[in-house]
Point group: C2
Chain length 361, copies 2
DNA sequence: TTGAAAGCGCTAACAG
DNA sequence: CTGTTAGCGCTTTCAA
C-alpha cells in the first residue's frame, strides 16, 4: 500500500496518479548493506551466510517499501521471463474455463505467470507466437490447436521446439503433449446408449483430419464392437464440432435407412445444434432419438431436453500441460501424456432413453 | 526460420531443441556498424540521418537473423513493458469473446501486448494485480469487475491510479471507465414487448448494488414511463445474472397477481435459466409469456424457443477501453465513456409474441 | 559475513 | 552520417 502512494503533484490537473516502485539499491541504501546482499536475502540464496540481524533488517525494509522484483531486470539477467502462454482457438467455452483453471493453478505452483493468447489471431497474423517468444516475453507455450489446422502446419510451427506442449491434440511427428482419454470417453457415451438397448447408433464426429476426432471415433467403434454390434459407415458423420456442422450431420442422418435411434455427438456445442435440428425436423428427443454428448458444460442443464453428457477431466489436462512444459523447459525429455484421472463420467440428464418400442435389437 | 534453428548438440538425448536469438550487437557486427545505428534504424528513429545503403544493410541483416527486440532489455531501459492486462471475472462467455476481440485489436494497433487475467483469482489471491504491475510485467489494466464486489472494495483497489480503466461498470468516486449504453439497451428490450402489446412487463435484473444493474433497470423503467405504463415494484427482481438466480426470480414472478405476460431478463445467461424455469412450470413461451434478453450470443439460436435478444456493442467497449487506457498511460486525463456506436440492436427470434388474447391493455 | 563489479539487451544523449 | 557511452534493475562470481 505504502509504496503505491504517489507523487500526485507531478500530475497537476489529474487526480489520477502513478505509482512508485522500490528497487534493490533503494533497499540496500536504507538497510545499510550492499545490493548483492539484498538480492541474495530476497531470493533466498541458500549459500548465503549472513547475520540474522542483517537478514531481518533487509527483509523489514523490503516489506516496508513493498518491494516486488522488477521482472525486466530479472528476465534480462536470467534470460528467461518466467511466463508461459496458453494459446487456444477460442476462449469462450466453459471447457476452456476448466483447462484454464488447471493451467493457472499449476503455473502458480511452479511460480510462472500465465498469459492467454488466441490461436485464430496467431495463425492469421503469421508469427505472433515467434514474436512472443522471440521478444522473451514468454518461455514456453501450451498450444491447443484448432481443429482445422493440419498436422503439417502444426509441425512446421512447433518443429522440435522444447518450448511447446500440445494440448488435447497431438501430432504424429512430435513428442510433448497432454490429451484426454478420448477413446474411453467416447466409448462410455456409446455404451450408455447400448445399455439402454440401442443398436443403431450414429456418430456425429469431428473432422477426420484431427487425431482427436479419430480417437473419439475409435472409442465409439470399440463400444459397438465389444457389444457385438455392427458399425455402419452410413451412420458416421465427420463434419466438425460446431453447432452448424452438427445440424447438417443430423439432417442427413435422419434420412438414413434404417434410421438410427441414438446418436453420440463428439462435442457439447455440436450436441446443442443437434437438438435444435432434431426439433426442427420433428424428431422427438429422447422419444424417437436419444442424444448423448461428449463433454459437459452448464448449458447442458438448460437445453431442451437437458442433455446427457460425458464429463472429461479438462482441469487436469491444463494442469498437466503446464507441469509438463515446465519440465521440458528445465531440460527433461518431452512426454506424451494421456490424462486418465479422474475418469470420464456420465452425467445423466434427459436426452437419452430406451429406443422406441419395436426398434430394439 | 533461420534464427530458430538450434544447437541440438548441446542437448544430447533430446530431439527437442532450444532457439537462438539475435541481438542488436550481433546485427551491428554483421552489418559492420554500431549498435546505436542498428537500434535507431530498427525503431525507425525519425531524427536519424543515415545513408540509405547502411540502412538497407542493417535491415537486411536483421531480417536474415530474424531479429525480434528482446523485451526485457527494452522494458528495462524504457521502464515500461508495453503490455496491458485485461482482468475479467469469467473468461468463458461469448460476450467476453467480443470484448476480448476488441481489446486485442486495439492493443495491436497501439502496439501493446495483451494479457488476460481472471478476477476471481485476483480478489482471492490478494495482490496478483499489484504483483503484475509491481513486477513491471504490465503497464496498465482493463478491469471488468465481477458483480459481487462492492464499490468500496473496487475503489480501494483501483484508487486514483492511472493504470486502470474500468469496463462495463463504473464506480462513483473515480474517473476512467468505458461502459455500454445500458439504459438504451434495456429500454429497447422493454419497448419491444410494449410494441407487441404487453402491459404487465417484469424485469429480472442484476444485483441492486451494481451500477450496471441500476442502469438497465432505469432503461426498463424509462420505456414503461414513456409508454404511459405503470411500473410495478412487485414485477421487479434483483437477484443477479446467473441462470440459477433467474430461475428463482421467474418462480416468484409466475406467482405474482396479476401475472406478467412478458419479462425482460437483463442478461442472456439469466434468460436461458428463465426459459428452463418457465418450461418446468408449464408456462408456454411465448404463448403465455414472452421473454427478451439483454445481450446476444450464439446459444440464443439453440434454446427452446430461440431467444429474442438485444445485441450490445461489446467489441467496441473492449477496443475503447484499451485506447482509453493507453491514453491515460500517456498522461491524458481519465475519461468516462459510454459506447453509443453501434447502437443496441434487437435480434428477433421466437421467444416473444403478443400477450395472450384478452390480456392486452 | 559482506561488498565490488560485470554484464544481460536495449535506448538515447552526446561527441565526433 | 555514425560511434561511444551510460545506465535501466537484477544476479552472480570473485575478492575481501
Amino acid at each position: 500500500m505504502v509504496a503505491w502512494a504517489a507523487s500526485s503533484a507531478l500530475l497537476a490537473g489529474t487526480r489520477i496518479t502513478l505509482p512508485l516502485v522500490a528497487t534493490l539499491s533503494e533497499i540496500a541504501r536504507q538497510a545499510g548493506v550492499s545490493v548483492s546482499v539484498v538480492s541474495r536475502v530476497l531470493t533466498g540464496d541458500p549459500t548465503l551466510r549472513t547475520r540474522d540481524e542483517t537478514r531481518h533488517r533487509v527483509l523489514q525494509v523490503a516489506k516496508d517499501l513493498n518491494y516486488t522484483a522488477n521482472y525486466a531486470g530479472r528476465a534480462l539477467r536470467l534470460a528467461r521471463s518466467k511466463a508461459l502462454a496458453l494459446i487456444t482457438p477460442g476462449v469462450s467455452s466453459p471447457l476452456f474455463d476448466d483447462l484454464l483453471s488447471g493451467a493457472t493453478d499449476a503455473a502458480e505452483e511452479e511460480d510462472y505467470t500465465l498469459l492467454i493468447g488466441r490461436s485464430d489471431r496467431i495463425t492469421q497474423g503469421s508469427d505472433t507466437l515467434r514474436r512472443l517468444a522471440g521478444e522473451g516475453r514468454v518461455d514456453g507455450f501450451v498450444l491447443q490447436r484448432s481443429d482445422d489446422v493440419s498436422d503439417q502446419a502444426l509441425e512446421s510451427l512447433v518443429a522440435n521446439d522444447a518450448r511447446f506442449v500440445l494440448v488435447t491434440s497431438r501430432t504424429p511427428g512430435r513428442r510433448g503433449s497432454v490429451i484426454l482419454d478420448d477413446v474411453s470417453g467416447a466409448k462410455l457415451a456409446t455404451e450408455h446408449l447400448i445399455g439402454l438397448g440401442h443398436t443403431r447408433i450414429a456418430l456425429v464426429g469431428g473432422l477426420p483430419s484431427s487425431d482427436l476426432g479419430r480417437r473419439r471415433e475409435h472409442g465409439y467403434a470399440l463400444a459397438l464392437h465389444e457389444a457385438g454390434l455392427r458399425r455402419r459407415e452410413n451412420l458416421v458423420r465427420r463434419l466438425g464440432y460446431s453447432p452448424e456442422m452438427a445440424t447438417a450431420a443430423i439432417e442427413s442422418l435422419v434420412g438414413a435407412v434404417p434410421r438410427p435411434t441414438g446418436v453420440v455427438v463428439a462435442n457439447v456445442n455440436g450436441a446443442i445444434g443437434a437438438l435444435t435440428a432434431l426439433r426442427r425436423l420433428g424428431v422427438d428427443v429422447p422419444g424417437d432419438m436419444s442424444v448423448v454428448a461428449y463433454h459437459d458444460e452448464w448449458v447442458a442443464d438448460h437445453t431442451w431436453p437437458p442433455l446427457t453428457t460425458v464429463k472429461m477431466p479438462y482441469y487436469e489436462v491444463g494442469a498437466q500441460a503446464v507441469r509438463s512444459l515446465v519440465a521440458q523447459l528445465r531440460g527433461s525429455r518431452a512426454e506424451d501424456i494421456v490424462v486418465h484421472d479422474p475418469p470420464p463420467k456420465l452425467v445423466l440428464r434427459s436426452s437419452t432413453a430406451p429406443p422406441p418400442s419395436g426398434q430394439s435389437a
